[in-house]
Subunit: 312 residues, 2 copies
C-alpha cells in the first residue's frame, strides 16, 4: 500500500493508493502555513488519519510520495513558488512524526507519472503532460522514466513563444504561460470584451459573476463571433507551445490537463490536434504524437506521488 | 578500436577513433549521391581505407557509428533532409561490403555524445549541445544517456520564438532557426545593410566577397553602430531559445557549437551567458546551467558516432 500527498497552494490532500493506482481513501485539509515543522506535522497527520481509518500500521506502507509545487532535491525542498519553504529537510521532519519511507518530487512531475502509469500515457515510453491552470506546467517521461533533472525541470510555461510579448510573472516577456494558462486566457478575454462591446462575452461573464477561463468557450458555444475568434487565438498559442515541445522531445503522446482542458472538444482539442499535426516536425517520418486529454483530473498528482517508485 | 562516420550534406568523413575518443586517422570524400547501395558502398570504402592504412582487420573494430542528417530507427534511415534517402536499410547495405557491427544515430545526437564524452560536457549527467550552422540543431544527454526518442528528437531549431515571425523552411513562422542560424543571421545582416547605408557592414561584406555569418561580428569589432545593434539582436534571439531549453530540461551545461559559435567571446558568449543567467527559471534555486562553447568543432559528430555505445 502507498500514500500519495498533493501539496497545493490552498489545500493539502493525501490518498491511500494501492499498487494499481486505485485511490482507496483520501483526507484533506486547508493549507495554513506557520512553520516548516508544523507543515511536516500536518502532512504526517493526514497520512496517519488514512492509516488509522484503514486499520494499517506504518510498516504496511511501502512509501509515501509527496508532490511539491516547486523544486526538490532528494528529501529536501529547495524552493516553492507560493509557500515560504526554502531549503527545508521535509523528509526528515515528516519521518519524525511518522516513520515511513518518503519520496518527494515536483507536483507536475507527479502528475506526469500518474497519467503515464494510470491515465492517458499508459503503454508509452516517451510521454509528456502539459497542465493548463493558473500557470502552465509540464512533466516528462523519457525512455520509460521520469526525467527530473536538477529539480526544476519542465518549466514549459516559461518558454518564450512571442519575443517581446506579454509580461510574465517570471520576468521574461512573451512566455507561453502568459497566453496558454487560464490566467492568460482570462486576460485575453478582457481584451476581447473591450474590443467588442457587442459580444456575448459580457452577458456570459455577468451570468457567472465574472470572467473565468470558461467564459470564452461558453460564449463561443453560443455562436458569438468575438468569442470564437478568441478561442481560435488561444488554441493557436496553445498549439505553438505543444508543437515546440513535440519538436524538441518527440514524445509518443502529449496529455493536456488542468482546468482549461475541460473546454468543449471541437473548440480546444480538435483544432489543437489539427495544428500540431500540420506543423510538427515528426510529420516527416509519419510519427506524429497523439494529442490527448489527461484522464485523471486532480487525482493525477496524488496517484503519481504514491507510485513514484515505478517511474525512477 | 572504433570507426566514426559523419554524413554531411556535401562531404562524407570517416575516422579511426580509439577508446578515449582520440582520432588516429581520417578519410573523406565528396558526397556524389546516386543510389542507396552506392552510398553504403562509399561509406564502407572509407572505413576499409582506414582499416588497411592502419593494418587492421574488420574484427579489430568494435563498432562503426554513422551520424545521419535526419531520422534513423535501428539500422534504417527513415528520412534525411538533404540527401534522397528514405526508408533505407543502411546497416544491412553497409555490412554487405564490410561486416562490422554498425550503430546509426542522428548527426546532432552524435555531436552531443562527442561533446559529452570528450568535450564541453565531460562529467555532466544532463547536457545539451546547440549547433548554429545553416540550421539550428540540438542533442540531449539526459540522466547520463543520449535521449533519442522516436528518431527525430532535438529539432530545437523548429521551436517558435516569435509567433507569426519570419517564415521557416519547415513551414512554421517564427522558428528559432529563422533567427539564430547562420542563415538567419545573414538575412538579418542584409536587412541591417538596407536600413543603414552608412554602415561598415557594406565594406566588410565587399572585402570578403559577400555577406557571411561573420560579417556582422567583423563590422561590430571595428565599432560599427549598426553591426553592434545587429549582433545584440542576434544574441537576444539566441538567448531566447537557449533559455527556453534551459527552462524545459534544466541541463547542467549547454554547449554552443557550429560556425557562428566562433564569433568573438565579448559579442556572443558573454552577452548570451548574461541573458540566460538573468532570465532562466533555475536561477530560483541557484542551479544556473553553464553556457559553454563546444570544444570539438567539426570532429564532435565523428567522435560521438564512434563512441555511441557509451551513451546508450
Amino acid at each position: 500500500m502507498y500514500i500519495g500527498i498533493d501539496v497545493g497552494g490552498t489545500n493539502l490532500k493525501a490518498g491511500l493508493v494501492d499498487e494499481t493506482g486505485h485511490i482507496l481513501d483520501t483526507e484533506r485539509t486547508p493549507l495554513r502555513f506557520t512553520t516548516a515543522e508544523d507543515f511536516a506535522g500536518t502532512l504526517a497527520g493526514l497520512a496517519g488519519t488514512l492509516l488509522s481509518r484503514a486499520g494499517l500500521r506504518a510498516s504496511d506502507i511501502v512509501r509515501a510520495g509527496i508532490g511539491i509545487p516547486g523544486a526538490v532535491c532528494g528529501g529536501d525542498i529547495l524552493y516553492t513558488c507560493n509557500i515560504p519553504l526554502r531549503d527545508v529537510p521535509l523528509e526528515r521532519l515528516f519521518r519524525a512524526h511518522l516513520d515511513i519511507p518518503v519520496r518527494m518530487e515536483n507536483d507536475a512531475n507527479c502528475a506526469a507519472v500518474g497519467e503515464w502509469l494510470c491515465g492517458a500515457g499508459r503503454g508509452t515510453r516517451n510521454f509528456m503532460v502539459v497542465t493548463l491552470g493558473t500557470g502552465v506546467g509540464g512533466g516528462f517521461i523519457l525512455d520509460g522514466r521520469l526525467y527530473a533533472g536538477g529539480g526544476m525541470v519542465g518549466e514549459v510555461g516559461h518558454m518564450v513563444v512571442e519575443q517581446g510579448g506579454a509580461l510574465c510573472g517570471c520576468g521574461r516577456r512573451g512566455c507561453w504561460e502568459a497566453y496558454a494558462s487560464a490566467t492568460g486566457l482570462i486576460r485575453m478575454t478582457y481584451e476581447a470584451m473591450e474590443a467588442h462591446p457587442e459580444s456575448l462575452l459580457h452577458a456570459v461573464a455577468a451570468e457567472r459573476g465574472g470572467v473565468e477561463g470558461r467564459t470564452a468557450f461558453d460564449a463561443a458555444q453560443r455562436g458569438d463571433a468575438a468569442a470564437l475568434e478568441l478561442c481560435h487565438t488561444y488554441v493557436v498559442y496553445l498549439a505553438a507551445g505543444v508543437t515546440n515541445l513535440v519538436n524538441i522531445l518527440q514524445p509518443e503522446a502529449v496529455a493536456v490537463g488542468g482546468g482549461v482542458a475541460g473546454a468543449p472538444e471541437p473548440l480546444l482539442m480538435e483544432p489543437l490536434r489539427q495544428i500540431v499535426e500540420r506543423e510538427c516536425y515528426p510529420r516527416h517520418t509519419g510519427k506524429i504524437p497523439r494529442i490527448l486529454r489527461a484522464e485523471l483530473g486532480n487525482d493525477a498528482g496524488m496517484i503519481g506521488a504514491a507510485l513514484l517508485d515505478r517511474a525512477i
